[in-house]
């Protein structure tokens, strides 16, 4: 199910992007960007009330199954953040993160 996973930084560039063997990264990247627009819309409509990423996520896509996936992703992301050698804004090169993403993509595909 997950053909592409991307982590986008605040400045709208990808910190991490991985797609299934089809390797149509560019296409996915565009799709991710367009979905960013949707995210922006959601944020603007909701105002500052609920800056809960999880809620936003649920609002965008298929809720339940991917919710778990998102949580895993988010946990891995925080683990990456914990690494003092990681500078925010760098590409994510953590092997643990990679393996987690791979497992997620395999699992649901």
């Amino acid at each position: 199910m997950a053909v592409c996973i991307a982590v986008i930084a605040k400045e709208n560039y990808p910190l991490y992007i991985r797609s299934t063997p089809m390797e149509s990264e560019l296409k996915f990247h565009y799709m991710v960007h367009t979905s960013l627009d949707v995210v922006d819309e959601k944020i603007s409509t909701m105002g500052k009330a609920l800056v809960d990423q999880r809620e936003l996520y649920l609002g965008l896509l298929y809720p339940t199954e991917d919710y778990k996936m998102f949580r895993k992703l988010h946990n891995s992301y925080t683990d990456v953040m914990c690494n003092p050698f990681y500078n925010p804004g760098d590409r994510i090169q953590s092997r643990a993160f990679d393996s987690m993403v791979t497992s997620m993509m395999i699992q649901v595909c």
Partner: protein, 587 residues
Amino acid sequence: METAAGGGCGSGPPLLLSEGEQQCYSELFARCAGAASGGAGPGPPEAARVSLGAATAAAGPVADLFRASQLPAETLHQITELCGAKRVGYFGPTQFYVALKLIAAAQSGLPVRIESIKCELPLPRFMMSKNDGEIRFGNPAELHGTKVQIPYLTTEKNSFKRMDDEDKQQEAQSPTMSPLASPPSSPPPYQRVPLSHGYSKLRSGTEQMHPAPYEARQPLVQPEGPSSGGPGAKPLRHQASLIRSFSVERELQDNNSNYPDEPWRITEEQREYYVNQFRSLQPDPSSFISGSVAKNFFTKSKLSIPELSYIWELSDADCDGALTLPEFCAAFHLIVARKNGYPLPEGLPPTLQPEYLQAAFPKPKWDCALFESYSESMSANQQPRDLNRMEKTSVKDVADFPVPTQDVTGDDKQALKNTINEALPKDVSEDSATKSGLLPPPPALPPRPCPSQSEQVSETELLPQLNRVPSQAAECSPAKKDVSYSQPPSKPIRRKFRPENQSTENQEPSTAAGGPTSVATVKPHPTVQKQSSKQKKAIQTAIRKNKEANAVLARLNSELQQQLKEVHQERIALENQLEQLRPVTVL
């Protein structure tokens, strides 16, 4: 094969070697021969025998090996003569094997004669640090099957330790792999030179291993850098210095390790070193090092950021952005390994897991590291350069003192710390005063953050290795006056000072005044006091140990009392409830 070679050389009696003996002897021979040829590496022993150049074992390593057998010198002379080495002037394979057989015979109590070796003998035993190795050596029955690998390994370790030469490192690595049925994956050749240099440096300068952030080690290794011929002077230096700690691992590995991942096993010395470094960053051993502090520290290792990031990933098991002591040791060890050329593992090796490390090196071990760190901390305020001088003198003392009591917990140390804190205000002040006055040999140590130096001072004071403290404190107090000369004379002074301080747990701190005055008095007769001091040391050690134990037990007592009270209260509450319920049931 060996017998054929023996027959071919014709200079000795025909040898009948069992399979295990063959393997061991050929391995030993390869070691000695390899050492002679200076880094030819652990090629197949047959090749070494065949080729003329490497067909002989150098006298040096062989002599070391023979000495390791702990036979008297004249026995060894006899053996050397009998095996024919004296006659031919070198240790060929035949001579070497005959000699080993004779050693085995001598160790079994048989007379040193050619006839003795014709019978079935156990393997010769070479006394090294490994007791297990000796035991395994001694039993030929164990030499069959997979167990051959164990004496094989221990042989290497034994002979490895004996070889005072460059090759040890390389050969230890590859043979460690080979019996485990995989091609020796020794690091690429270009790294062997730095490894060997690092190792020889280790032999000469063990005590200097402890203090140091990476820069500090540079000057230590500097003299060997240019002669190493390694890839680059700078990486070599780092490698060599780090290799020192790493090569210790090769030397001191436990025999009971069933793990094939020898490079990922932390030895005692390394562990102590890591703990010292931990303390320099974080005085409390049961607490964390924050991410930023660790980052700064590890960045000094000059590894690339992605590698450091990966190492962090591996070692920070709970992903909390902070390193506990076992995590820190694992990370440090990985860095050392990486600098020595080992590729980083895919996952954290089992010997580096925090649970394993905590089990393998329980808290008490910190104690022996404590006193070393004490020396660190004492001088840390005066800049850690002090350390090296400290370390040198105190290393000798280390040998005198066994590992301290097992009971001292971190809490106890804390409590005692505080009491001693009051007792040692002088040291602290002196330390700060001497900040600029001390310039021990390696000058490049950056000043360590030492917020709780006084704590460390007091903490480590409790340890039996207070022997170091005298030298430490000696450094501190007279440092103002006389940097280089004060060390020996002040050593005895401090012994007086310390025990008095020790008793200040219970009494008034009067020693602070006593310290400087004793400095003056002792200076005139240093040597006399030195001798008597050594005798005092032992007693004082025992005293301190007992006091520590007392403190620990007192603490335990109080805790148990607390628990008892709580349980009492619970019981009372339950009984009340029971009372209330009883009338109901009766009715």
